[in-house]
């Protein structure tokens, strides 16, 4: 019983941290419409700064003032002004990408500044314990509780009893109306970001001392991320419900952590505890009421990269393979070998990452659905490849694709009626759950990593590095042809149409839910194929190969180049492979990905879609026109003349 009380107080304290963090998310979301994926990273940075200040013997009170009252709000205002204001009115997935970029920048900077090898422990604000009903409870828990109550009461007062709060609530309902009544939506949104960053920093500083083993960039970021679940319980707008969600989650996690492992087989308990918050998030998402279809009321005016026709893409594919053969002969077997130089790994990995990128071109580029779990599918694919028939068989490839497609459909099915942001959150929850619960378990990949043999067919062996390189190249080209064929097909038109206007899709008789699940499954299957080939290329796969943040980084590289084109997929894969393999560059990979996405701003087609790029540099495989042609490129007639006119106009304008 005493123990129970102890766990309850601890659970409420942890839950209060989640609640504070989640409230910050909600405030930012309601005032600016942007869900800040970097929220967890802000809390993490605050905790590290706090540690740093204490290490330099700055008094606790002064440190708190510097971090909470100056650092957090100033950073929040800066981020809003520089990164976010340009995003208003952009498409729905753009703010997701930019805040993810911010997340990577903050994490990358933290790793550069605070080396992960050093152990850093943050002492509680007040150490020691106090007795309650015969149990000694830590003062820190009580302080967290008091702070949470103060925050809740203060927010309640702010929103319902002050002019500012009234304006903050109004901006959510109708920004235009607010402008007319004299307040500035920009000022409101800036206030929202400043408050959000303050609350994130507060949560980070409060939660840091509860980590007995010291603060780490990854764990701390993910810990604050648990606040996502609480925010979703509050449906991103209801602050009291958000608090309830946070406390319930905190209690459940603590009880589960302390009671469940005794009743579960050895080793499973720890994983389940780690996965628990993400399962909670997923359930909260599924329980969300479905979003009503409604007219978008705006036309996307972006110029769309042309889709290559059938013959054209086939010819380009053959050329690509020929180029790869010449490349491999030029560098020779020594350079291409996986162990002897960096050229070999980069070349091979480019092709495999290219397949993953193609799965994202299909899902995010064409259908507009953001997935943050493609690397998780990659890991599952590699696992299937290694486990089926001893690895190295074609059956493994088939199983990898089938399993990933099925899991993808299962993930998409319950969340498909929700908006893009919630699907992105669900994939994030899934990716983290897979990473913490599955990949981290030594029984999955083993202590030394899982062995995956190279494919050997009767009369055809891909055991040499050279043959393996050619295999992944050919598969990449086939995957690219498949993605382009899908885009040109009836299904592809539906994907693009669904992205442009779901309401119009429904009113011409298309079942959007089915289309979404289908494209998610195909994309997951493709990522699984990439993962299986990754296994054969590396021959061993380990726990760290499919890190969730690497996956986010990869997605951002793709968006920076161009998420809508096959060329973008290739260039993103190449860049990513170079960054991960070259010593020194891998450290700043996150900074580059995040900086790139922020620089590219609203340009929906990435670097390859930029007008100055398309005007000045004409890559042979990137042709720019204003229209998509693939579906009927053998029509002749008056349309030709008009099309010429359109192209002429576009060029004159550019």
């Amino acid at each position: 019983m005493n123990q129970f009380l102890e766990f309850t107080v601890l659970g409420i304290a942890i839950g209060a941290c989640y609640a504070i963090s989640a409230t910050g998310l909600v405030v930012t979301y309601t005032t600016s419409g942007v869900f800040n994926f970097a929220h967890g990273a802000v809390g993490m940075i605050a905790a590290f700064c706090y540690w740093e200040l204490l290490a330099h013997h700055v008094p606790v009170a002064l440190s708190l003032v510097i971090i909470l009252l100056i650092g957090g709000p100033v950073l929040g205002a800066f981020v809003e002004r520089v990164f976010m204001r340009r995003m208003y009115g952009a498409s729905a997935e753009r703010p997701i990408m930019v805040t993810l970029g911010l997340l990577l920048i903050l994490m990358g900077a933290a790793i550069l500044i605070w080396s992960p090898t050093v152990t850093r422990t943050v002492s509680p604000l007040v150490s020691g314990t106090f007795p309650l009903f015969g149990v000694n409870l830590p003062w820190q828990d009580l302080i967290i509780l008091i702070v949470a109550i103060v925050v809740a009461v203060a927010l309640r007062f702010l929103f319902y009893s002050t002019r500012l709060g009234f304006a903050l609530r109004a901006v959510v309902d109708d920004p235009d109306l607010l402008t007319m009544s004299g307040a500035s939506p920009n000022a409101m949104s800036r206030t929202g970001w400043m408050m959000g960053f303050f609350l994130a920093a507060l949560a980070g500083v409060l939660i840091a001392p509860t980590l007995g083993t010291g603060i780490q960039v990854d764990t701390l970021t993910l810990l604050v991320v648990n606040g996502y679940a609480a925010a979703v319980v509050g449906r991103l707008k209801n602050i009291p419900m958000t608090f309830v969600g946070g406390i319930v989650l905190g209690l459940l996690v603590t009880y589960f952590q302390n009671y469940a492992p005794q009743h579960l087989p050895q080793g499973i308990g720890a994983e389940l505890t780690a996965v628990f918050p993400m399962v909670f998030l997923f359930i909260a998402l599924v329980a969300m009421p479905s979003v009503r279809l409604r007219a978008v009321g705006r036309l996307s005016t972006i110029r769309i990269p042309r889709v290559a026709g059938g013959r054209e893409s086939l010819a380009a594919g053959v050329l690509f393979i020929v180029a790869a053969i010449i490349f491999s002969l030029f560098f020779g077997p020594v350079f291409l070998s996986q162990g002897l130089s960096t050229v070999g790994p980069i070349a091979g990995q480019t092709m495999v990452y290219g397949i993953i990128a193609l799965s994202l071109v299909l899902l995010t580029g064409y259908a507009g659905q953001v997935s943050l779990c493609q690397f998780a599918f990659m890991g599952i694919g590699a696992f299937c490849m290694g486990k089926v028939a001893g690895g190295g068989s074609l059956l493994g490839l088939v199983v990898a694709v089938a399993v990933c497609a099925a899991v993808g459909a299962l993930i998409a099915l319950p969340t498909i009626r929700l908006r893009g942001l919630y699907l992105a959150l669900a994939t994030f929850a899934f990716a983290e759950a897979v990473q913490l619960g599955l990949f981290a378990d030594t029984r999955v990949y083993g202590n030394q990593g899982l062995n995956v043999n190279r494919i050997v067919l009767p009369g055809l062996s891909f055991e040499s590095d050279h043959a393996e390189f050619m295999l992944v190249t050919v598969v990449f080209v086939l995957a690219a042809l498949l993605v382009l064929a899908i885009r040109r097909s009836l299904f592809g038109r539906r994907l693009v149409a669904m992205n442009d206007s779901p309401a119009a899709c429904a009113t011409v008789g298309l079942n959007i839910s089915f289309t979404k699940v289908a494209v998610f499954a195909i994309s997951a299957g493709l990522a699984g194929l990439g993962g299986a080939l990754w296994g054969t290329l590396q021959t061993t796969v380990g726990t760290t190969d499919f890190d969730i943040f690497s996956g986010v980084m990869f997605l951002l590289f793709l968006v920076v180049w161009s998420v809508r084109t096959v060329s973008g997929a290739f260039l993103a894969a190449l860049t990513f492979a170079v960054f991960t393999n070259v010593q020194g560059l891998s450290k700043v990979e996150g900074l580059f990905a995040g900086g790139g996405i922020i620089l590219i701003g609203r340009a929906a087609n990435g670097i390859l879609g930029l007008e100055w790029f398309a005007d000045r540099i004409r890559l042979p495989w990137v042709k720019r026109t204003g229209t998509t042609l693939g579906a009927h490129d053998d029509i002749t007639g008056p349309a030709q003349g008009d099309f010429g006119l359109l192209e002429g106009e576009a060029r004159a304008a550019g």
């Binding site: 539906r494 206007s501 009927h632 349309a639 099309f643």
Partner: protein, 324 residues
């Protein structure tokens, strides 16, 4: 990109593709002219405390153009959303033929033959005009059908028959060609011949509205809901639109038209319903409606009415509903 100068000559007299008319002919619900295709009874929609629609009753007959007019915010678009399934009504029912539409999802309603356009354009902006129409034409193709796969390989298609559509129907030579030629013919039917390859978002508003109309026609509707199709059209285009709608109605389609261009409405509508503050305040022939004093007060005339002075208008209600 500046608007591309296009030759918008207005709807032509070209015969309509079979895709548009075949469903009307092979149809049981609302086949004969003068039978009600759509019956709206006692439909009510509330956004928060504001009634956007309160107990609306109206019918649309096969073979007739039914006008729906009223001031901004009267609830016309909300009613369209209810009929097409984008908005759940808080009360009342909508009958399509003799089928109650309650609980039927928007895409099933479309497959039953309810097509619509939107007041604010809802085109597939990244597709071409032709592809916009194609999406409508192909919406009945199921995922397991071979056409899905065939459509991925355009070079496998047979030669296109440039001639009459009957040739295309008898000798499809692949599904793509049929869809493409039918799409071209539909676009030509609304006066956009030769524009099928233009990216939809780059088209001028008037043309874009016509693409939306062609896309709606592509599903072979029995009931066509048009939300201000005439805005953005000049006089000659608007006249051509009137001719086209009359012809469509003559082929047996029921058309419900929301429009602010009074000349157009008075000229082509057989029946007009006037909506104000979520209620039908008058119904009848154009002449009857024009003579109705309540209508003159609320809409046609400039006179103020007691109802328009106080309280939040339904216009606000529409926006709030969309924003929540």
């Amino acid at each position: 990109m500046p608007p591309v100068d296009q030759d918008v000559s207005g709807p032509t007299d070209a015969p309509l593709p079979a895709a548009v008319t075949e469903r009307l002919e092979s149809d049981d619900a609302g086949a004969a002219d003068g039978t009600p295709v759509l019956t709206v009874s006692e439909v009510a929609v509330r956004f928060g405390g504001v009634a956007a629609l309160s107990a609306v009753n109206l019918t649309a007959m096969a073979g007739a153009v039914t006008g729906l007019i009223g001031p901004n915010g009267a609830g016309k678009t909300t009613l369209f959303n209810v009929i097409s399934g984008l908005q759940q009504p808080d009360g009342g029912r909508v009958l399509f033929g003799r089928t109650n539409l309650a609980g039927i999802s928007p895409h099933r309603r479309a497959r039953m033959g309810i097509a619509r356009t939107f007041q604010r354009l809802e085109l597939f902006g990244t597709l071409t005009a032709g592809e916009n129409v194609q999406v409508g034409l192909e919406s009945a193709v199921k995922w397991w059908q071979w056409r899905h796969v065939r459509s991925s390989f355009p070079w496998r298609r047979g030669p296109l028959s440039a001639g009459g559509e009957s040739a295309a129907v008898e000798d499809p030579g692949g599904p793509g060609s049929l869809a493409v030629t039918t799409a071209d013919r539909l676009l030509a039917g609304v006066g956009l011949a030769g524009t099928s390859r233009n990216q939809a978002s780059a088209m001028p508003t008037g043309s874009a509205r016509m693409v939306e109309l062609a896309r709606a026609l592509a599903i072979g509707p029995k009931l066509l809901l048009l939300d201000e199709p005439g805005s953005g059209l000049d006089d000659s285009e608007s006249e051509a639109l009137g001719t086209l709608l009359t012809r469509l109605a003559a082929s047996g389609m029921a058309i419900l038209l929301v429009e602010h261009d009074m000349d157009l409405v008075m000229r082509i509508c057989d029946t007009i319903h006037v909506l104000d503050f979520g209620e039908v305040i008058a119904s009848g022939s154009p002449d009857e409606v024009r003579a109705d004093p309540a209508v003159q007060a609320a809409y046609l005339g400039a006179g103020a009415t007691p109802g328009s002075a106080g309280g939040p208008g339904p216009d606000r209600a529409d926006q709030e509903g969309a924003g929540s």
